[in-house]
């Protein structure tokens, strides 16, 4: 039997029926009816944030770490526009979030009413889909569809814009939870094409210098296990994109590390010299390929992706496969298994051994563990790489790690070896500074009791640090590792390398707050370190039982001169990398 509910109540009930446990939000006039409906129920916990952008990143972190959609509730006008950066962040990294925005009453839409913005219009280029509720009776169906669309196929954010009159508490409707969704115009692929898969396997078995290039689609598509199985069966080297880290065990011998602009020497060299690249859930981003015209000249490309629009967009695929990563990889593995059973010599094991030898040589010469890798800490200061490695040790490699954008993000990606998917959470596509802390909060809500670290930079941290207050309110024991180089380090690095060291507006040394005092003023625990000697002890405390229930902020003062290497040479091929700082010589400016 159906219940009689108002529009606002139906909205909340529909969220409950979708299994939602947390809503990240911030109230305002247009959503007051909805907030009243929240007040009258217990099943959903609403988390009051301090800024709507942060709410979207929390929902995003929640979604990335669980695979379940994150939900956001904001008011109309400024509440809605504040959420746009977070929606765009989720869109670029294909994460499922649902953003419910209040809207002015339908009767005044279009009149420039107080706090009116065309949210459907403003968010259009950065959503997978969006709805403007026209009548309250549509709400249950719209919510059902929104969740289905956000989570299926290539996931993405969905906006539901709800005019205030559609949530009117005095107008009641029969509420029924819709059991199913049927959208005649939306049918994401459910399996990879069998013929294409066979072709792909044949190509792979014949490869002499193969690389598996795996991206965020492996994480989103819950395909880490079949990917790992296949890679082990074939003995192929695997590299991950920034978004794909954890999709293959980071400490595995077959793992080459991250590829791309700041990828490892061996992964970029292997890509450049490969005769076959198997791209899975990756999109040949320009931060990976460098100059597409010079990309992997010898390689045959096998490309598996759920989104046909990602295939042959930048680099033409010789063997495209459209399908969900987990299903298609499992089938590829089955076919490979059968072929190898029938004829174990289908793989050219001698060629593979020679290929691994070359890779090993690259790794020995310029890999991340190479002693000469970070040489600029000569003046005795702490190096960012050392801090990340200490976090790795103190957490046994088992933490969830979120990050922001800049040098610290690249150091975290390079030096924290992610053993499992959904552990590394960062804004790869949009590169949103301010993502790290709120994302970590979302992760902590989803995983109470688990170690959650946010490796950030002081610039990024200051973009959403108001959330320290939210962390206090909800007692979130996040560990914030602030790689403090007193600068917009990544910008400064580019200025060092491409603008003759002219640091135009990338430093603010004398204007920074005392981060320890700042965090303490929010009621949290804080440390400041600047010497290597204290590093491991502090990290042991931070991640140990002593601070199990505390938010701890570690203000790590690192060598401000350190650069991230390797760094791709602008306009070059993937094997064109600057490997270390040689003063005066890494000015690699390319005039156009």
């Amino acid at each position: 039997m159906s219940e009689r509910l108002s529009g606002g109540e139906m909205l909340i009930r529909a969220l409950q029926d979708e299994g939602v446990e947390h809503v990240f939000g911030y109230p305002g006039g247009a959503v007051l009816h909805i907030y009243d409906a929240i007040f009258k129920q217990q099943r959903i916990e609403h988390i009051l944030v301090r800024h709507e952008q942060a709410a979207t990143h929390m929902a995003d972190g929640y979604a990335r770490s669980t695979g379940k959609p994150g939900v956001v509730l904001v008011t109309s006008g400024p509440g809605a526009t504040n959420a746009v950066t977070g929606i765009a962040t989720a869109y670029m990294d294909s994460t499922p979030i649902i953003v419910i925005s209040g809207q002015v009453p339908s009767g005044v839409i279009g009149t420039d009413a107080f706090q009116e913005t065309d949210m459907v219009g403003v968010s259009r280029p950065v959503v997978k889909h969006s709805y403007l509720v026209r009548t309250a009776s549509e709400i249950p169906q719209i919510v059902k569809e929104a969740f289905y669309i956000a989570c299926s196929g290539r996931p993405g954010p969905v906006v539901i814009d709800v005019p205030k009159d559609a949530t009117d508490p005095s107008v009641l409707f029969d509420y029924d939870h819709p059991q199913s969704v049927s959208l005649r115009s939306y049918a994401p692929a459910t399996r990879g094409h069998r013929g294409q898969i066979k072709k792909a396997v044949d190509a792979m078995l014949g490869a002499k210098q193969p690389v598996i290039y795996a991206g965020g689609g492996v994480i989103q598509g819950d395909a880490a296990a079949p990917l790992t199985r296949l890679a082990r069966r074939l003995g192929f080297p695997v590299t991950n994109t920034l978004m794909g880290l954890g999709g293959f065990p980071g400490d595995d011998d077959q793992f080459l590390g991250m590829l791309g602009m700041h990828g490892t020497f061996e992964s970029n060299m292997a890509m450049h010299h490969a005769d076959l690249i198997f791209a899975v859930g990756a999109r040949f981003d320009d931060r990976v390929t460098n100059n597409p015209g010079k990309f992997a000249p010898e390689a045959k490309i096998v490309h598996l992706d759920i989104d046909p629009a990602s295939i042959s967009k930048i680099i033409n695929a010789d063997i495209p496969i459209v399908g969900p990563a987990a299903e298609a990889l499992a089938e590829i593995d089955r076919v490979a298994e059968r072929r190898l059973e029938a004829d174990p010599d289908r793989l050219d094991r001698d060629a593979l051994a020679a290929w691994w030898k070359r890779i090993g040589d690259w790794r020995d010469a310029h890999g991340l563990d190479h002693d000469q890798r970070h040489r600029s800490g000569l003046n005795g200061t702490l190096l960012p790489q050392q801090v990340v490695q200490a976090v790795y040790r103190a957490t046994d490699g088992q933490a969830f790690v979120t990050s922001d954008v800049g040098q610290h993000q690249m150091f975290a990606a390079q030096y924290y070896k992610f053993a499992e998917p959904r552990r590394w959470i960062n804004s790869g596509g949009l590169g949103t500074m301010g993502f790290g802390l709120p994302a970590a909060m979302g992760v902590q809500f989803a995983h109470p009791g688990r170690a959650v670290a946010c490796i950030t930079g002081e610039g990024s941290f200051m973009m959403n640090m108001q959330e320290l207050s939210t962390c206090m309110q909800y007692a979130l024991p996040i560990k914030i590792i602030n790689l403090n180089n007193q600068a917009l380090g990544m910008v400064k690095q580019w200025q060092d390398m491409q603008y003759g060291g002219r640091h135009s507006h990338s430093t603010y040394r004398d204007a920074l707050p005392d981060f320890k005092a700042l965090t303490e003023s929010f009621g949290h625990v804080a440390y400041r370190i600047d010497a290597l000697a204290e590093l491991d002890d502090v990290m042991a405390d931070v991640f140990g039982p002593k601070h199990k229930d505390d938010l701890v902020f570690v203000d790590a003062h690192i060598d401000p001169e350190e650069h991230v290497y390797p760094m791709a040479v602008k306009g070059g091929a993937m094997d064109d990398m600057v490997l270390e700082r040689i003063d005066g010589r890494d000015d690699i400016r390319e005039d156009v």
Partner: protein, 163 residues
């Protein structure tokens, strides 16, 4: 190369703006666009002409298909097809030019659909090239107003674009 895309779209508020928005957002160009509901009032049919090489058209088609409200997309220029555009052109028609215009209009199988003391309005249907040719045939100085519908297209034979 010029391409003609036929798109079946949910006839819903906001659906058209997503198609248009996609072209703007991805830096694709729309040359002409015509749209109206089909015999099934829940569907709209759009014909869109654009420029691009094969790769670009493939990308456009894929991105269009990604839009939830797009039901089907076909590149009509891939096969045999018929395309038509409607034009209403108002020209200054005085003195001896009046007859000249009338003759030209007959040659192009146009119809004069409105007559004023100093002007004719001519209706013309055909391919875009034909309409271009008619415009060229008019003395530029006499052209007062040109209204074109944008191209509509349909595949030849028994091929149909439907659900």
């Amino acid at each position: 190369m010029r391409r003609l895309l036929a798109i079946l779209l949910e006839n819903e508020a906001g659906a058209l703006s997503r198609v248009i928005g996609l072209f703007a957002q991805r830096n694709y160009n729309i040359e002409t666009l015509s749209v109206a509901p089909t015999e099934d009032p829940t569907l709209s049919r759009l014909t869109l002409s654009t420029e691009g090489d094969e790769n670009r058209i493939e990308q456009i088609t894929k991105h269009l298909n990604r839009l939830i409200e797009v039901v089907k997309v076909v590149d009509l220029t891939d096969g045999d097809h018929i395309e038509r555009e409607l034009m209403m052109i108002k020209v200054r028609a005085t003195g001896e030019v009046r007859d000249e215009i009338k003759r030209a209009s007959e040659i192009f199988r146009g119809q004069i659909i409105d007559v004023a003391r100093d002007a004719y309005t001519i209706q013309l249907t055909g391919t875009s090239d034909k309409l271009d040719a008619f415009i060229r045939a008019m003395d530029e100085a006499n052209i007062l107003e040109v209204v074109r519908s944008g191209v509509s297209g349909v595949g030849r034979g028994e091929k149909i674009l439907s659900l």
